[in-house]
């Protein structure tokens, strides 16, 4: 495959070179590389750019490469000279796009683009998200951050060398190297594996150290290795690897897949080619005329395990230990290739033909295999995402563009447009859930950076699906830059939840209706009071009017009283209706004291009839809580009715109901205490289970319903016997944060 691509690369350059330099529609792309042209790590970038950007536009694109040679010419002066050189060189040329291949190239362009390539958009390739976060990128610097973590490679190394007791981190001394060294050192290790650093040492020392490593050591390397601790410059990591691999007594693992074939045993990283492909994708969009703001950021590719078959053999590593899907390269070293050379050498036509046929067949199969594996690994995330019913997404806050992984989920289909703004996404959310979604976004951006929202998306034929999205805000210098996370289809769980909630509400309603049946006489009585008062007031007024002189002051007072009595009657009817209605549960801000008072008013007649007097102690500073008013009333009603029942056989002066609210740190504590017989100790446990009852005609649902209502409010209903007589039921409702009564 390498050979084939090299040929393609050559062909591409040839075509490019043959194209007339000045062409009306010809576009020009300049790739800026931070180091010199020999840098091995650039090979895959160059190859992919040629294949994906240049070749498809044969004859219509000029492709230039510029190497800043940063390691060998460090410092601001050579940089300035290079900038000046580039400015002069491209002064007469129309450059359409710049490709920045490493942090050095990005840094250079951030500083000098305005003078060397004014206004030309830049595609930034191959930088870690963490690295990108250090820069303030202008809008037309398009980058896709990569999540590259040494933990995958280190994990793979520990898996392939289960007896390893020492992990050696080894890098050069460039900035990139130092960052990788830090990342390797920061990786958590099993307790029986110690860490040793070989970073920042002269190459001779590293060689000596590597030569004396024990059989239980593994080496992990990353970065460019352009320079060692003595300041000596090198061509880069892959070449250094070959040199070090010759002396090491322990297997070397690399954080770049380009080290495979150069002496590294294995790597579990995002392939450099895939990274280059990412840049090529963005570059192609721009070259095809997509405005900068509308460019869709492709998904960062998934890391792929890669191993060198020869190195596995050398270190006696069992292939079975390789992670599933590992791309094992160099398996049968050059068998057919040697054969073909031989055939060419002897010039035997038949042999050549046979070899060619065989070669082509094998090559095709290999290519297919490699391509398939590559495709598979690139799709690993995608497949995993789909298998897990997950959508991965990433919202570029500044540009307001949401990228998401391909998905079979309803939300994926709804977002058929692969690129979306936040408003566009909110547009497909169920109208009732939009506000809470908005709130979640605001909270994440302004608060702790954690985003979590559950919402519905109307689907085809009126079917709606539930999704939950979780994510985290990434900030640059305190400014939220992106919000990324996952979305899960939770329709099934939600359906079960809603079903359970529905049943709970049904049961609550049933229990409420039963209770209100008991109370109806009392409520009628309560309603008759204002009606009576209205009637006598109105009739009195009628009589006062017929008399001279009319006392208008008194008439006015009467009318005021009639109005307030009428309102009171209305309230009683409303609270009764609310409780009878099979209403959807709505959680709003509730003042618990008001709930208590409303229930007591509703029950007043009943309490009087039962000869129960109420000892009410309301907290003066009770905070607001979030909950369903009607359900809380139901709980209180139930507890109070139970308390009354418990005291039914008490002498009248012993029928005292104590209802209290206390505000504490955790919220509002509500308690209902009676002076009855108390709860038999054996029953204390089962009291909240359904169908538990001590009443002759009780359904045994009341307390279990109350308990589930309080649970759905985030509290717990508890029962305890009093020190003296009777029992007390208590529950705590959490105060609504940041809301003051």
């Amino acid at each position: 495959m390498v050979r084939r691509m090299a040929a393609a690369c050559f062909l591409g350059s040839l075509i490019a070179a043959c194209t007339p330099a000045v062409h009306a529609q010809a576009k020009a792309v300049v790739a800026i590389f931070g180091e010199d042209a020999r840098t091995a790590a650039y090979v895959p970038f160059d190859r992919v750019f040629q294949k994906s950007i240049v070749e498809p536009r044969a004859g219509k694109l000029q492709y230039y490469q510029e190497y800043l040679d940063n390691a060998r010419f460090p410092g601001p002066e050579p940089e300035r000279a290079t900038a000046e050189y580039l400015r002069t060189r491209y002064a007469g040329k129309q450059v359409d796009l710049l490709l920045a291949v490493d942090p050095a190239a990005l840094q250079f362009l951030l500083k000098y683009r305005a003078t060397t390539f004014p206004g030309v958009p830049v595609v930034v390739v191959g930088l870690r998200t963490a690295t990108l976060a250090r820069f303030q990128l202008p809008d037309d610097f398009l980058a896709v951050g990569l999540d590259r973590d040494p933990i995958l490679t280190i994990g793979m190394a520990l898996r392939l060398r289960p007896n390893a007791r020492e992990l050696v981190g080894m890098t050069g001394t460039t900035d990139l190297d130092k960052r990788w060294a830090a990342a390797i050192q920061a990786t958590p290790l099993p307790p029986n594996v110690r860490f040793r650093s070989l970073t920042g040492l002269p190459i001779s020392t590293i060689e000596r150290e590597l030569a004396s490593l024990g059989p239980d050591a593994i080496v992990v390397t990353g970065g460019s290795f352009r320079r060692d601790g003595a300041g000596q410059a090198f061509a880069g990591a892959p070449d250094i690897l070959e040199r070090l691999n010759a002396v090491t007594t322990a297997p070397i693992f690399t954080l770049y897949d380009t080290g495979i074939g150069k002496g590294a045993v294995a790597s579990f990283s995002i392939s450099q080619e895939a990274i280059a492909g990412l840049g090529a994708d963005i570059a192609n969009q721009l070259l095809d005329g997509t405005p900068v703001a509308k460019v869709v950021r492709p998904a960062p590719p998934a890391p792929v395990p890669v191993a060198d078959w020869r190195e596995l053999r050398r270190w006696g590593i069992d292939e079975a230990l390789l992670p599933r899907g590992t791309d094992v390269r160099f398996r049968e070293p050059g068998f057919w290739e040697q054969y073909r050379y031989h055939a060419i050498a002897v010039g035997a036509l038949v042999l050549l033909e046979t070899a060619l046929v065989a070669g082509l067949m094998v090559q095709r199969r290999q290519r297919r295999k490699v391509e398939e594996e590559l495709r598979q690994s690139e799709q690993t995330m995608q497949l995993a995402a789909n298998a897990a019913q997950i959508v991965l997404w990433n919202w570029d806050i500044e540009r307001d563009v949401i990228w998401r992984s391909e998905s079979a989920l309803e939300i994926g289909r709804a977002l058929a447009q692969p690129e979306q703004s936040l408003a566009g996404l909110i547009g497909i959310i169920h109208p009732e859930d939009r506000e809470s979604f908005h709130r979640a976004v605001d909270r994440a951006l302004q608060g702790d950076g954690i985003f979590e929202s559950e919402y519905r998306v109307p689907g085809a034929e009126g079917a709606e699906r539930w999704f939950t999205s979780r994510g985290r805000v990434e900030r640059v210098g305190g400014v939220p830059r992106r919000l990324r996370g996952v979305t899960l289809d939770v329709t099934r769980r939600k359906a079960a939840e809603l079903d359970a909630q529905h049943r709970r509400n049904e049961l609550a309603h049933l229990s409420r209706v039963t209770m209100l049946g008991e109370l109806s006489g009392s409520v009628a009585h309560e309603l008759n009071q204002p009606l009576m008062s209205i009637l006598s007031n109105a009739q009195a007024a009628r009589m006062f009017i017929g008399r001279e002189p009319v006392d208008l002051g008194e008439i006015g007072e009467i009318l005021d009283d009639i109005i307030s009595d009428d309102k009171r009657a209305g309230e009683i009817i409303w609270s009764m209706r609310r409780m009878l209605k099979k209403e959807e549960v709505t959680h709003g801000l509730v003042q618990v004291n008001e709930v208590v008072q409303e229930v007591l008013r509703l029950m007043r007649g009943d309490l009087v009839n039962r000869g129960v007097s109420v000892d009410l102690a309301l907290a003066a500073d009770a905070p607001l809580i979030r909950g369903d008013r009607m359900q809380l009333q139901q709980v209180l009603l139930n507890l109070i009715l139970n308390a009354c029942d418990a005291m039914a056989s008490n002498p009248k002066e012993e029928r005292i109901l104590a209802v209290a609210t206390d505000s504490g740190e955790r919220g509002v504590r509500v308690s209902v205490a009676d002076r009855g017989e108390g709860i038999p100790p054996a029953s204390l446990e089962g009291i909240f289970t359904p169908f538990f009852t001590t009443k002759k005609n009780g359904l045994g649902l009341g307390l279990s319903v109350c308990s589930s209502i309080i649970a759905s409010h985030g509290g717990e209903l508890r029962a305890a016997n009093n020190a003296g007589r009777g029992a007390t039921f208590t529950f705590v409702l959490k105060a609504e944060a940041a809301v003051f009564a």
């Binding site: 009628a524 009071q529 009606l531 009576m532 009637l535 006598s536 007031n537 008194e554 009087v608």
Partner: protein, 205 residues
């Protein structure tokens, strides 16, 4: 209705108290309102003519209990009950206790004023009867034992001669004693005397 009669309203519900107060005042009645049975009992003037409108369901002493207390104290106030629900057992109990009326809330002018009227009339009547009885009793108290003995025979329809025979005295003495009884009892005929003594529960001998 008795002049100066007062309607006492006892209801724990302020709005109801206020409404009744206005309605009764509009009907030219004197009204006094109380929020509880206890408050009413403290202020109760036994001699004041009038009636009570009593809420049946009140915290503390309820209407029925108040009725019993009033009866025990010998208060002669007529009671009109007001109740949220007029179930039969309650009504029966209240009526047995001497209630004039049992009104179900919401009750208006059409029920309240006639009920109050009836109560006040009955109160006035009973007051008059009580006054009469008191008068008979006072007169009876003035009689000497002998005169009382003679009166027993008189209301039994005996002649002076028969009485003298029974008592073993002279007919003339009986005649004088009978005249003293008639004079002390303030009656002119035997028939009148019989009616008076019946009221006071004095039986013929």
């Amino acid at each position: 209705m008795t002049e100066g009669a007062c309607v006492f309203v006892v209801d724990d519900e302020p709005a109801v108290r206020k409404g009744l107060d206005r309605l009764l005042r509009a009907a030219q009645l004197e009204v006094k309102v109380f929020a509880s049975a206890q408050e009413f009992l403290l202020a109760l003037d036994h001699e004041h003519p009038g009636c009570v409108i009593l809420d049946y369901q009140m915290p503390g002493l309820n209407g029925l209990e108040l009725q019993e207390v009033l009866a025990a104290r010998g208060a002669h106030l007529q009671i009109v009950f007001l109740t949220g629900h007029g179930d039969i057992p309650r009504t029966v109990r209240a009526m047995q206790g001497g209630a004039v009326d049992f009104l179900v809330k919401p009750a208006g002018r059409e029920q309240i004023l006639p009920a109050v009227g009836r109560a006040l009339e009955r109160e006035a009547l009973q007051r008059a009867q009580r006054a009469q009885l008191d008068d008979v009793r006072a007169r009876l108290a003035q009689l000497s034992p002998r005169e009382r003995e003679v009166m027993g025979h008189v209301i039994a329809g005996r002649l002076n001669k028969q009485i003298a025979d029974i008592l073993g005295t002279a007919e003339k003495t009986v005649k004088i004693q009978r005249a003293a009884v008639m004079q002390k009892m303030g009656v002119r005929s035997v028939a009148e005397l019989v009616r008076q003594t019946e009221k006071a529960g004095v039986l013929p001998t």
